[in-house]
């Protein structure tokens, strides 16, 4: 097959760059066979993996090696696509936005550099996975809890940088970033926040530093390569109290959001509860063929039968209170009273106290079981996530839910959605699950995705994160003053990355020399 070369780069230039990379990291860590390239492709792509083909991958083990690679990339105009562990599943995994880009895999930089139990933080390298940090905390008996996403195979830093989230009170992962070390596109090295002082005593304690704050400028960004991340971790609470409930009707999600939103805002609920439809659970535990073999989306009567037999509600809520027993009990009563106004369904209560097994606690415990859902349709499963952000009201949530479900049914995909309540917004994650070998269905999924982006934009909703193939579409929905934000981002991009070598096209931000590549 041979490498797909990046724009502006000859075969000779490319080979010289690879040789120079090998001079820095050793030949073993420059991967450029067809099989190697295949391992960095978008594994779960909806038929468009060939739009995001890497030319090679290089794996540094130190900051100095990253700097040297960046300088070589500038010399040969070879673009780099940094990944932490490459498990951004559903959003493109390890693959680059632009074909021909060399993947800069930071997985070998995997040290937990510091954990401070007293002040509740860690300092980690990008290759540290959720399992790695969890094991580190457990083995060292450190009473700090992590916030972990549903599928925990990926990188702690990578997830926070992509604005992923978990389900503890520290669930908004990007908000817990406190201080970064970053290699800039020219190869220079910078530390953000108070880390800008070479002898800082408070790098992981105080976020804002002095002057403009830069941590968020490196999130979902192609302005730099994060080589260290400070992150706040949650002190283990005295107790937790879980409240699980199943709601039987599709429209129950409306009143549930109206009741939960003020409790989330005023702090009765401190974590971000997720209201997930039954498929979120059924698709992990069973396969579609066990229930239905017909064409089109699951009919409502089949779904009703599944709910009855599998024991799920149309919507399912698992929320958790953290802190002291007395306070948790008082907050639980407030929540139960709010729900009692709408349903006779009872909450299942799960209590945990310090010292009991962590699995029942509501702490983040890493697992990959959520990945089971890709097996829903059998064959070579895949999925993609469409994730708009809405105001937390029944009006918005119900309209978006019914509109999305109808769109799914039009192309024969089973509705799979959840609404996660943040403090002042709802993140509506919708997965489309398919068999990658069903070309007709994946073509429909690709078309549907663009329709959903357009539908949401008409309502004033943006996506919080998106797949490689739709980064330009979503960026263009931010259209105030003729896309002024995109123009600002690209002005900054050109200033920081004059040769356009770092992650061209990420989140729709293209360097001047490659803007013709915009979709």
């Amino acid at each position: 097959m041979g490498a797909v070369l990046p724009p502006r780069v000859s075969d000779r230039q490319f080979q010289k760059a690879l040789d120079a990379f090998a001079g820095v990291v050793g030949k073993q860590w420059v991967l450029a066979t067809d099989e190697d390239r295949g391992t960095f492709m978008d594994i779960y792509a909806a038929g468009d993996a060939d739009q995001h083909v890497p030319s090679a991958a290089v794996g540094p083990q130190s900051v100095e090696e990253v700097q040297a690679i960046v300088r070589i990339a500038n010399e040969y105009k070879v673009p780099l696509w940094p990944i932490s562990r490459g498990k951004n599943l559903g959003y493109g995994a390890a693959a680059p936005r632009m074909s021909g880009t060399v993947v800069l895999d930071l997985g070998r930089m995997n040290k937990v550099l510091d954990v401070n139990e007293r002040f509740g933080y860690c300092l980690i390298e990008p290759g540290v996975g959720f399992f790695d940090l969890f094991n580190y905390l457990q083995e060292n008996k450190i009473k700090l809890w992590m916030s972990i996403p549903a599928n925990a195979w990926g990188s702690v830093a990578g997830n926070a940088l992509e604005r992923g989230y978990g389900y503890t009170p520290y669930g908004d992962n990007t908000r817990n970033i406190c201080g970064l070390e970053v290699v800039l596109p020219t190869g220079d090295l910078v530390r953000t926040g108070n880390g800008a002082m070479s002898n800082s005593a408070t790098w992981q304690l105080f976020k804002w530093g002095y002057g403009p704050g830069w941590d968020q400028l490196f999130c979902q960004s192609n302005f730099g390569i994060v080589t260290k991340m400070g992150m706040w971790l949650m002190p283990e609470p005295e107790a937790t109290l879980g409240l699980n409930i199943q709601l039987p009707n599709p429209d129950d999600v409306g009143w549930a959001v109206d009741e939960l939103a003020p409790l989330r805002l005023n702090g009765v609920i401190q974590q971000s509860p997720s209201i997930g439809n039954s498929l979120r659970f059924v698709a992990s535990a069973t396969q579609r063929s066990q229930w239905y073999n017909g064409d089109g989306a699951l009919p409502d009567d089949v779904l009703a039968d599944i709910l009855k037999k599998a024991g799920y509600g149309w919507w399912n809520i698992n929320l958790r209170l953290y802190g002291y027993d007395e306070v948790n009990e008082a907050h639980a009563r407030i929540i139960k009273d709010a729900f009692a106004r709408h349903t006779k369904q009872e909450f299942q209560v799960v209590k945990w106290h310090r010292g009991e097994p962590i699995e029942n606690s509501g702490a983040g415990v890493p697992s990959t079981l959520a990945l089971q859902m890709i097996n829903w349709r059998g064959g070579r499963g895949g999925h993609i996530g469409f994730s708009p952000v809405l105001p937390p009201t029944s009006e918005h949530v119900l309209k978006q839910f019914h509109s999305t479900k109808k769109r799914y049914e039009e192309i024969g995909v089973d509705y799979y959605g959840s609404f996660t309540l943040m403090e002042r917004s709802v993140t509506n994650v919708n997965l489309m699950v398919y068999d990658r070998d069903d070309a007709a269905l994946t073509a429909k999924v690709r078309a549907l995705f663009k329709t959903l982006v357009a539908d949401a934009a008409k309502e004033g909703y943006s996506e919080y994160r998106t797949h490689l193939s739709y980064m330009d579409d979503v960026a263009l929905t931010f259209d105030f003053n003729k896309n002024a934000l995109l123009r600002l981002n690209e002005a900054v991009k050109d200033a920081l990355d004059p040769n356009g070598i770092l992650a061209p096209g990420k989140q729709g931000v293209w360097p001047r020399a490659l803007r013709t590549e915009r979709a």
């Binding site: 991967l31 295949g38 562990r85 995994a93 895999d105 079981l369 097996n375 499963g381």
Partner: protein, 135 residues
Amino acid sequence: MNALLHGCMAKVVLILVAGVCFVATAMARPRDDSTQKIEEGKRLFHARCGYCHLAGGTGTIMLGRRLGKDRSLLEERTDLNVEYIKKITRVGINGMPPHNRIELPDSELDLIATYLTRPASARAADTAAAKGGTP
């Protein structure tokens, strides 16, 4: 039977006995370097593949659906071969993503494959160790 022939036969018997003992010993207890490789492969398998391929893991569940429960735990399979393990790891299969040579270098994959294809004697030793005895 003359003494010479008797002596020769005795030697043959001794050699055979010694050989059988050697084979039996080798089967019961693989050579040290093999044992080390298998142990290291086991450690790596648990660290790198265990997320999905230990009991209750997502890979175990998927394999159980496709091949049946008796073939769902990779550690217990005796029908795997080194080349198959290495290929599937690099190209993926069904829902399992491929693993690149940075997250899992060839040297580590070799050890994992060695562990998953360990001889019956090593499995017996494993089982006995798990029960707190010797094979």
